[in-house]
């Protein structure tokens, strides 16, 4: 098993005819992901190396039975593309696009929450990889193999760093989920922790958070009450000064809230072990799994 994407994934890529969209859609296809279609308004009827392109998500779903969408269009079109995918009945939407205005994300989030059964991962995320099954997004799949560690993270490269250290110790992953670095992610740590808790293949969960917002604190509460599997956490940004956006739109310490220390404290207060470096996270995970 794994979560979110697997052998049953039928992927439709919004923005498949763009440079990045084409590159990553084909990369995902080469990995073995079933890329069934793409959407670019005005380019319906064309194909990208055999993948048919449609003008609308509705047509793509009707013709190719897509059940997962990947959003690769520029920020000004991305919110619209997400709600279009949802409106066409696609239940799993992975938005890679960076730079979507926060108010747009808020409207999309609120709308999707009311449209039952639609799950959005991202935006501003590297996507989801279930090693050996499917890769939806831009995660460099070569570093990861199938295994029993679930990873959920707000950062892409930090995920690769931790995943790679685990791989070097001989451990693989059930799924790797980048929830993204924006202020209003479609899915939170809590949402993904719940999926990993329910996934029989996942035996340990690594959660990589960072400064800004309160998603890590909420995750700490949730873990204490609902997660039976061991969780190892990492928080980036202990040295970040207040009031400065650290690369990710959502990574900002506002006054005294959203600090790395407060997040680490909240997790440790709930008996979640927090590694001080990515290496230490991997070491704790390895020793827990080997015990």
């Amino acid at each position: 098993m794994s979560i979110l994407v697997d052998d049953d994934t039928r992927l439709c890529v919004s923005g498949i005819t763009g440079r990045e969209g084409t590159f990553h859609a084909l990369n995902n296809k080469r990995y073995g992901t079933n890329v069934v279609s793409g959407v670019t308004p005005g380019k319906g009827g064309q194909d990208v190396e055999g993948v048919p392109v449609f003008d609308t998500f509705h047509a793509a779903v009707a013709e190719t039975d897509a059940n997962t969408a990947m959003i690769f269009v520029p920020a000004r079109f991305a919110a619209d593309s997400i709600v279009e995918a949802a409106d066409a009945g696609i239940p799993t939407i992975v938005a890679i696009t960076e730079g979507i205005p926060a108010h747009d994300e808020l409207r999309v989030y609120t709308h999707l929450k009311r449209a039952n059964g639609v799950r959005l991962i991202g935006p501003n995320c590297p996507g989801v990889l279930s090693p050996g099954k499917a890769n939806v997004g831009i995660i460099p799949a070569d570093f990861f193999k199938q295994g029993n560690v679930g990873v959920v993270s707000r950062s892409g490269t930090l995920t690769y760093q931790i995943g790679n250290e685990l791989a070097q110790s001989g451990f693989g992953n059930s799924s790797i989920v980048g929830i993204g670095g924006d202020p209003v992610p479609g899915s939170s740590f809590v949402d993904i922790l719940q999926l990993f808790e329910e996934d029989p293949e996942t035996e340990l969960i690594v959660m990589a958070g960072e400064i800004g917002g309160s998603a890590e604190e909420e995750a700490a509460e949730y873990i204490a009450e609902h997660v039976s599997k061991p969780v190892v956490a990492y928080i980036a940004g202990f040295t970040a000064p207040p009031g400065k956006t650290m690369g990710h739109a959502g990574a900002i310490v506002s006054g005294t809230s959203g600090t790395a220390q407060a997040k680490a404290d909240a997790l440790e207060a709930r008996n979640v072990r927090v590694g001080r470096t990515p290496t230490e996270v991997a070491e704790i995970a390895v020793s827990t799994l080997s015990a």
Binding site: A102, L106, T157, T239, K244, M246, T277, T279
Partner: protein, 387 residues
């Protein structure tokens, strides 16, 4: 982006929110001209993004042309908590009968705008919340429904606003909410929101934070500048399309991906070093981006050693190595570099670096090893007082 007070007030005016008449001025002469146009008495206000400027002498009332000249002369160029005043705002002096407080915050946890209203304006709202919670009314607004009349009534009644002002306060909050959404704001705060003797409401201060990601649809906001809040190197980085934050240490830091860079800062700090900056070279960094990044990092003269921490995903390590080799050829760095390349094409990247045999460049295989080495090298290089 945080706006200066007057930029916030100009934004308010576009949405029909009453503010005292005023004009910005960059020089003493401009300040006098502005005061003559507005009339006396007027207020000379330092334009810096920092609280408590009044207590530090950054806000002065002027009754005459001479006083404007005197106050503007003193305030322009003044240092307020480390920020230099480059601009003043000349504003018509207001008569104040009461001071309220109003704000709208983009509440990430609740996933909804959070509106606050208090009749205890002019002071820190966190203090009001603590000492007099009854005087503070709050609610969340459904982002798909928007601000309704009842929201305004409820806030006004709950905060204990004078009966004759319940409707005007509600209308003012509705306009603030409209501005909050229309301008893609993350924060709008009016403190104080004053009541004049004529029972009119006016925004006497304006604190506005805009979402940088929305600038593609707000060219007029994208063009706003805050010269006192922008560091020279941050400005240089922005022009080159790099994500850079200046810090006060001496170890220059570059990585790819915001999380990995934050993590690198932390690991360097744990090893006993002090980061000089945050610089995310981004996904798929090409050679020219690396050259630009090296230039920005070294523009900060406090930097005594530099660490490159790259985990290649989309970013290819050979591209980073090529960029570094090019940067050394163009910039001739005079501080040691520690480079850690891992991930996509890492072996090729390390081979290129080894062949280039760059002066004072050290290749490490792990993040921790690289952090320790750069801290040692920075300490050894501390005799270099000013580069």
């Amino acid at each position: 982006m945080d706006l200066l007070e007057y930029q916030g007030k100009q934004l308010f005016e576009r949405h029909g929110i009453a503010v005292p008449p005023g004009r910005p001025a960059l020089t003493v002469d401009e300040a006098v001209d502005a005061a003559d146009a507005i009339g006396y008495p007027c207020v000379v206000k330092a334009q810096v993004q920092i609280g408590g400027r009044g207590k530090l002498g950054g806000i002065k009332v002027a009754a005459s042309k001479d006083e404007v000249r005197e106050h503007a002369g003193a305030i322009l160029g003044m240092d307020i908590k480390g920020l230099t005043v480059h601009e003043v705002w000349i504003e018509s002096a207001s008569e104040i009968e009461a001071e309220y407080y109003a704000s709208i915050v983009f509440d990430r946890s609740a996933k909804a705008p959070f509106v606050m209203l208090s009749t205890k304006g002019g002071m820190d709202i966190e203090q009001v919340a603590e000492e007099d919670p009854e005087a503070l009314a709050t609610l969340h607004v459904d982002p798909l429904l928007g601000f309704q009349d009842f929201h305004g009534r409820r806030l006004a009644f709950d905060a204990g606003v004078d009966a004759d002002l319940v409707r005007p306060v509600g209308a003012m909050l509705a306009k603030l909410y409209e501005a909050f959404v229309a301008e893609d704001a993350m924060l709008i705060e009016v403190n104080p929101l004053i009541v004049t003797p004529e029972r009119q409401l006016r925004a006497l201060d304006a604190k506005v934070t805009l979402d940088d990601n929305s600038f593609f649809r707000h060219p007029e906001n994208a063009a706003l500048r805050n010269p006192s809040g922008e560091d020279a190197e941050e400005q240089m980085a922005k022009e080159r399309g790099l994500t850079y934050v200046k810090l006060d240490g001496d170890i220059g830091i570059l990585g790819n991906g915001a999380g990995l860079v934050m993590s690198t800062l932390d690991v360097v700090a744990q090893a006993g070093g002090k980061p000089a900056n945050f610089l995310d070279a981004g996904g798929g960094s090409k050679a020219d981006a690396i050259v630009a990044a090296v230039e920005v990092i070294l523009a900060n003269k406090k930097v005594r050693a530099v660490i490159f921490n790259i985990f290649g995903g989309i970013t290819r390590c050979d591209e980073v190595a090529k960029g570094l080799i090019e940067a050394f050829a163009q910039v001739h760095p005079d501080v040691p570099f520690v480079v850690r390349l891992d991930g996509t094409n890492d072996e090729e990247g390390r081979r290129l670096l080894s062949e280039a045999d760059l002066p004072n460049l050290h290749v490490e295989s792990t993040m921790l090893g690289a952090a320790k080495l750069v801290v040692e090298l920075a300490a050894a290089n501390s005799s270099v007082e000013a580069r």
